[in-house]
């Protein structure tokens, strides 16, 4: 795998829309051609090279291309958007939409990420070694097709609206979440190892939610069923199993009514 290293040398006055920083765009391009890729600051487009120093060699395909981003990327949005393969390592905090709509490959952020991280993600691995803001792994506004696949891991805390309209894939939060987790869910798994304040699984019809800490205020639409032992992210523990959201429709599969399962660690 070949590596392209991008080091920020100039900070934008506004924010950069860097949806073209992906292995798919870089693959097969020379350093000069990568430097000429246009990124937007507000409504004006600039070549990437006017903000960053670019070194290394790209691979022939996206899968053979690794991008390492250094320097301060706090004002850079949309890194890795719609990427299908390859790897991105970001050694900084980043702005919004990191790994949005990604279909494959791997992104690691060694820092904090802002909102909309992994929005409508369909595959691949997205790891944030830090905290995230809101709408992590959620659907694009208005859309009923949220995250459908892949693994989104945040080691720290997250804000609100996590996994909204989730249909598949896994979100693992190492710390706490604020409110609205798995709202309108239709599949997928969310694991929160810390606490959640409220509104977990509201209007959700299918999927699994694991909470290792406590939920301050449970949704009234969830009913306790039984205690079960579960292996969650490699750790076995006993959980209280709830089903819901009882206020919603309940589709049937194989003659059984389908519910969202909420597992609360005992």
């Amino acid at each position: 795998m070949n590596t392209v290293t991008i080091t920020m040398v100039k900070q934008p006055q506004l924010f950069l829309e860097a949806d073209l920083i992906t292995p798919d765009q870089f693959a097969g391009k020379s350093i000069e051609a990568i430097g000429a890729i246009e990124i937007s600051e507000g409504k004006i487009k600039y070549p990437l090279a006017s903000f960053a120093k670019i070194e290394g060699v790209s691979g022939a395909t996206a899968a053979e291309t690794k991008i390492v981003l250094n320097g301060d990327l706090t004002r850079v949005k949309r890194i890795g958007q719609q990427m299908t393969a390859g790897e991105i390592i970001i050694n900084s905090n980043v702005d919004m939409y990191t790994g949005g709509w990604m279909k494959g490959g791997k992104i690691t952020v060694n820092g904090n990420a802002d909102s909309f991280t992994g929005i409508a993600m369909a595959g691949g691995e997205l790891t944030i070694n830090g905290n995230c803001q809101n709408h992590v792994g959620s659907a694009y506004r208005g859309d009923w097709r949220g995250m459908t696949g892949g693994v989104l891991r945040v080691t720290g805390n997250v804000g609100n609206d996590i996994g909204t309209f989730m249909r598949g894939g896994t979100i693992i939060v190492g710390g706490d979440a604020f409110i609205h987790v798995h709202t309108h869910g239709e599949g997928g798994t969310i694991i929160v190892k810390g606490n959640i304040q409220a509104r977990v699984g509201g209007q959700s019809v299918k999927g699994d939610i694991f909470v290792n800490g406590k939920i301050d205020f449970m949704m009234p639409g969830y009913k306790y069923v039984e205690d079960v032992e579960k292996d969650v992210d490699g750790v076995k523990a006993v959980y209280a199993h709830y089903v819901g959201d009882l206020g919603e429709r309940h589709p049937e599969a194989k003659g059984q009514k389908v519910f969202t399962n909420l597992y609360l660690k005992k």
Partner: protein, 573 residues
């Protein structure tokens, strides 16, 4: 004004019986003329088809419902909005395009006139503001009247003169064009949580049936001598087995004759007929079936009718209709988001996104039924192509529908290769029986130009290349003497007009929009009736007691209506 000559094209104009004859079309001062001077700009149309500008009889392109659809579906724009081209305004949206994209895309298909299909009278100002902001195309809008409290009461008492006076007042107050009727009685019944499924179901409180409403509207329309007939979206839309309701509705025209000075012959236009031709009692392939043949057999022999198709294009789209109960029903079928509004004494509307997925049986069957209608139609001047935009698909898919009609291969390929349940679709519809049937370019021109203009009572303004007509002219990259072997070329050519003139202004040249600033018209009907003190009193009374707005604030003001073009119909003369 500049002169133009479109040289050597193959002209297709059903209004003059011209079918592919090589001739020149001359344009001067916005009109089609017999000849122009030597200084005229030449458009070389050798090996190309020349037709009048297209006319769309039914499309939801302006107004509160369309706007709500845009706000309600931000995801409809995501990754689907082309970047702004240097000389154009921003274009956004897939199934509910922005006003700019609406105007541009119609022009790109060579269309010059579009009828906004449903204008809630109370929201007429909003409709006209959006019409103003839609570039290039001329437009008109039909006020929705099938559930209007005034009319329900007049029809109950058989007071057609009063109904006429009220309808005339509404046309003037809303700058409307024709009398639209959506789910007659059913939308009002829904205010009580009910619906009207057959034409004999009573509307609660008003104690009137859909049949009485439709007949009342026909009588009112012919009493007012309006250019267009009543424009009907019948009861029981979209439900399996609904074709009997459709036939019952269509048969209501028996005994009526068109009464107007505009050359219109029908007394009822039934819109998006595809949604109304279903047999069976469920959406399962074991039960659902096409009844298009049964319905078209009646349409073919009944001269008092025109129809449009409402073709399903197999896209993800946004349904929006004044048929409130239907949208509620739909959201329970597909579990997608739903919005709804009740318009006081007049109508209602709902919106639900919908995916016509070729992997499902039902979308394939609906697609087939939509194409059966024009293929079964004997008189192509009475059957028009629409998608009921955006309900069955976006309007800018028309070229794809043309392809499916012009080329049997394109149709059969799709059944074989793209529909997951193609065999079941063949079993339960008539599309297999029609597998070698194709329409001609001349018939296409009837279904998209001459016939539509005639049915709208607008044949002196649109749909023809006769000398003296407004110069709306489209030139397509299709050689009628050497038709394309690859059906895709039909879609490309009809979607990217080579040249398009709107009112004699060169709007598209060599496939690119070069001018979108030409004046566009808002066509409306200025209906004049004898003074009617009773109706004047009724209007004052209803506004005093039931409306949330004051009568003085109700009518559309002059400044809302962009470049109005009034068609005066005076029945007092």
């Amino acid at each position: 004004m500049t002169e133009y000559i479109i040289k050597n094209g193959c002209v297709i104009d059903p209004t003059q019986g011209i079918n592919g004859q090589k001739m020149d079309i001359c344009i001067k001062d916005g009109k089609i003329v017999d000849k122009v001077s030597n200084s005229a700009k030449v458009i070389d149309a050798t090996g190309k088809t020349v037709m009048a500008g297209g006319v769309d009889i039914h499309s939801h392109v302006a107004g509160p419902k369309v706007d709500a659809g845009r706000l309600f579906r931000p995801e409809d724009k995501l990754f689907k909005s082309p970047n702004r081209k240097s000389n154009l305004r921003m274009e956004m949206g897939f199934s509910v395009p922005s006003v700019s994209k609406t105007g541009y895309d119609y022009a790109r298909m060579g269309y010059g006139f579009v009828m906004e299909a449903a204008m809630p009278p109370l929201e007429a100002a909003h409709v006209h503001e959006e019409i103003r902001d839609t570039p290039i195309i001329d437009e008109a809008a039909m006020p929705v009247l099938g559930n209007n409290w005034f009319l329900l009461e007049y029809f109950k008492n058989h007071e057609i003169e009063n109904a006429g006076a009220y309808a005339s007042w509404i046309l003037n107050a809303t700058r409307g064009y024709a009398l639209k009727c959506v789910n007659p009685g059913g939308t009002e019944a829904w205010g009580w949580g009910l619906n009207c499924i057959t034409i004999h179901d009573k509307v609660p409180y008003f104690d009137i049936t859909p049949a009485e409403i439709v007949k009342g509207l026909i009588e009112t329309n012919e009493y007012l001598r309006l250019p267009h007939s009543i424009h009907v979206h019948a009861n029981n839309l979209g439900n399996p087995g609904n074709y009997t309701t459709t036939l019952d509705t269509l048969k209501l025209v028996e005994g009526y004759k068109a009464n107007n000075d505009f050359g219109r012959e029908q007394v009822m236009h039934h819109t998006h007929l595809q949604f109304h031709c279903y047999g069976g009692d469920s959406f399962k392939s074991s039960s659902f079936e096409s009844k298009s043949k049964e319905v078209m057999d009646y349409v073919n022999k009944q001269k008092g009718l025109t129809i449009d198709t409402g073709n399903v294009t197999l896209d993800e789209t946004t349904t929006m209709t004044a048929d409130g109960p239907f949208e509620y029903h739909l959201t329970h079928l597909n579990h997608l988001k739903w919005t709804n509004v009740d318009i006081e004494l007049e109508t209602a509307a709902g919106i639900v996104p919908f995916i016509y997925d070729p992997k499902t049986y039902i979308a394939g069957a609906q697609w087939a039924i939509g194409l059966e209608l024009p293929l079964f139609a004997k008189d192509k001047d009475r059957c028009f192509i629409t998608t009921d935009h955006p309900n069955a698909g976006p309007f800018w898919r028309y070229p794809r529908i043309y392809k499916w009609l012009l080329s049997a291969n394109a149709r059969n390929d799709l059944i074989k290769n793209e529909l997951k349940y193609g065999d079941k679709v063949l079993d339960t519809t008539y599309i297999g029986e029609l597998s070698d049937k194709e329409i001609s370019l001349y018939e296409l021109a009837q279904m998209t130009r001459s016939g539509v203009a005639k049915a709208l009572g607008l044949s002196n303004l649109y749909g023809s290349l006769k000398t003296g007509m407004n110069a709306n002219v489209a030139v397509y990259d299709i050689d009628p003497e050497n038709l394309p072997s690859d059906p895709e070329q039909y879609e490309t050519a009809f979607g990217n007009v080579f040249a398009f003139f709107k009112d004699g202004v060169l709007c598209i040249e060599n496939h690119d929009i070069v001018n979108y600033s030409m004046p566009k018209k808002t066509v409306w009907v200025n209906s004049i009736v004898p003074e009617n003190k009773q109706v004047e009193r009724d209007i004052r009374d209803k506004f005093l007691h039931s409306y949330t707005v004051d009568l003085e604030n109700y009518a559309v003001q002059e400044e809302h209506v962009h470049n109005p073009y009034a068609i005066k119909v005076d029945i007092t003369e």
